[in-house]
Symmetry: C2
Subunit: 190 residues, 2 copies
């Protein structure tokens, strides 16, 4: 594992980690495989022993972020005992994740490869909306209505998440933000 070793020992993971860091600070646009390689103390062609091409590399970084994101939402869901507030808390968690790392948002969602119906964060919304509606109106809600309301709520939260990645919203501190997000989300009703 010495610095002068011919074999790096952990290059693949280091490239991913440095990629994450770079995207977080500078965005994908200016990321280059060569820079990442040099940063990792390795020649500029070395990454191609681990990734087919740049696209495949970025795809792995995307998956990594998506996992972190999903875990964050999952923890929020598990930590919330008040069933009336779970949708609100999930929304706040969703928005805050991308506010903390604004450049992740466009990196993840700009290359349109996700199928929403199988996207874990969306499925979580679906699960919760069903819970909420069941509690409100009993068991007699049709599936179409659940799906529509899920889409509506998810779209609102998702749109708000993008909104808060815009520069005009970067000055706020997080305390204020949480309250504002809550006010916005609770200004409409399912």
């Amino acid at each position: 594992m010495s610095k002068r070793a011919y074999h790096h020992g952990n290059l693949k993971q280091e490239l991913i980690d440095r990629g994450l860091e770079f995207i977080d600070q500078n965005g994908v646009e200016s990321l280059s495989m060569r820079k990442l390689a040099i940063l990792s103390g390795v020649s500029s062609a070395a990454p191609y022993a681990h990734f087919k091409n740049k696209k495949a590399f970025l795809s792995e970084v995307q998956n990594y972020i998506t996992e972190q994101f999903t875990d964050t939402l999952q923890k929020t869901y598990e930590m919330c005992n008040d069933r009336e507030r779970v949708l609100l808390e999930l929304g706040k968690s969703y928005v805050l994740f991308f506010r903390q790392n604004p450049l992740f948002y466009s990196f993840i969602f700009s290359h349109g490869e996700i199928d929403v119906n199988y996207y874990p964060p969306f499925q979580m919304f679906q699960h919760i909306v069903r819970e909420v509606l069941n509690e409100l109106y009993g068991g007699k809600i049709d599936e179409q209505s659940i799906y529509n309301k899920t889409l509506a709520m998810w779209a609102m939260v998702h749109g708000l998440a993008q909104l808060y990645t815009f520069p005009a919203f970067r000055t706020m501190d997080n305390r204020n933000m949480e309250d504002k997000i809550e006010d916005i989300l609770s200004s409409v009703t399912i």
Copy 2:
């Protein structure tokens, strides 16, 4: 104006037009100034007589698209006589614009330069939400509540617009889509 003229005559506009076309078909990622120049029948350095750099060029294309988008929304607003449906129609118009040109969405919104408070489409939402609330609850609505509901509605529509640019939603025909969008948007209430 002949093809062999040393001076193109209309290069700046042709570059923008071809840029629009290229982004619409292939996305920004694979756009290069050199290709655009060749496509326009001109040497690869010619564009730099009209644009400071690639970023400035893309910025002009962005503005062009945003103008078209704003005009589309404006026309929808003017054509809708039923005041109870104007918010719904605006939302549908918003979503459909980017569904017709999905690659425009990420191109416009992925580089986070817009200030929502001065973004014409957002201002239109604000205007309409104020109208609707005035009609519903009279003139006694506080500004904060209007702003929150505007953000909520805009975020929902904006998020839905992104949703419908994803591949999984590209198979639907437009008739079905309009109905579905309407169902989704009207599944929540202000």
